[in-house]
């Protein structure tokens, strides 16, 4: 690893790189944390409504997406592990993870389309809800999964750029490790979104 000023050793430099990324990820956790806190408050106050609204979501499509994301995280971890020693494996793993990310977004789009058809998308013409809290739950669902999808899209772009430029201008170790950390965090957020939104059924 190449050392830059003002760090006396490469280890210190790596530690600083990592800490900066961890603090950024911490701010991301607090951003989603506010949405989780809102979901928790809604659940405490309107348990039956939340359970009914959660039951309208497609448990199996959400579960398939969880499998897709967990698998993509495995590929990113394998790719980061191959860094520096097996560049071709790194490219293959990051490309596979990016493709899985795109597959996740496709499944998500299919879900959104179904929810639109069922009148579960707030703000659309034929949306109808059994109660106010149920509409609030669906608002929260679209806000949280939409924000997550934006993060995932950025992650896909990041992985594609890193994989495609590896042939002529390989990224630094810090760039690869930090991109991997970002992808895993997006995975961790979905790990909590899935039970909070899909599995809180009555």
């Amino acid at each position: 690893m190449q050392r830059h000023e003002p760090y006396p050793t490469p280890e210190r430099q790596r530690e600083a790189d990592q800490l900066g990324m961890m603090l950024f990820l911490g701010s991301e956790i607090m951003l989603f944390g506010a949405l989780f806190a809102a979901a928790f408050g809604l659940f405490l106050r309107h348990t039956p409504d939340v359970e009914a609204a959660s039951g309208r979501l497609n448990l199996w499509l959400g579960g398939a997406n969880t499998i897709i994301l967990l698998t993509s995280s495995l590929f990113v971890a394998l790719g980061a592990e191959a860094r520096g020693r097996r560049p071709r494996r790194l490219v293959a793993c990051f490309l596979a993870a990016a493709l899985l990310g795109i597959l996740f977004l496709a499944v998500k789009a299919l879900e959104y389309a179904r929810e639109y058809d069922e009148g579960l998308m707030p703000g659309t013409a034929h949306a109808h809800f059994a109660s106010g809290p149920q509409q609030l739950f669906m608002n929260l669902y679209f806000a949280a999964t939409g924000l997550h999808a934006v993060h995932l899209t950025l992650g896909v772009v990041l992985l594609l750029v890193l994989a495609l430029r590896e042939r002529w201008r390989p990224a630094t170790a810090a760039a690869i490790e930090n991109a991997a950390l970002y992808w895993h965090l997006v995975d961790v957020i979905w790990i909590f979104l899935y039970p909070v939104l899909y599995l809180t059924r009555g």
Partner: protein, 109 residues
Amino acid sequence: MRARSLILVWLALLLLLALSVGATFLPIGGWRHGISIGVGFVKAGLVLWFFMKLRTAGGLARLSVLGTLLFLMALILLVWIDYASRSSYRGSEIMTGEPNTGSTSTPFS
């Protein structure tokens, strides 16, 4: 970390996912929500520890994760305290317009 260990972690994550989906079909009342969230914490722990390399990370990185968790807990805890204490608050009928029944709505009922 070797590739084989990473694949084992992935298998464990898939098993835990199956467990949390399975738990939602059990007739155990509100506790199944607790199980699916609890399993989520275990899964997140596995991803943090093995995929995000906290296992081999230095103290500074671990401390930053711990700090984030602390702030997140404060956020969730304060939301919980607010909702849990609302209906037992004297005069809450004035605040919310709802009659004070003296009972709180608990998540596991």
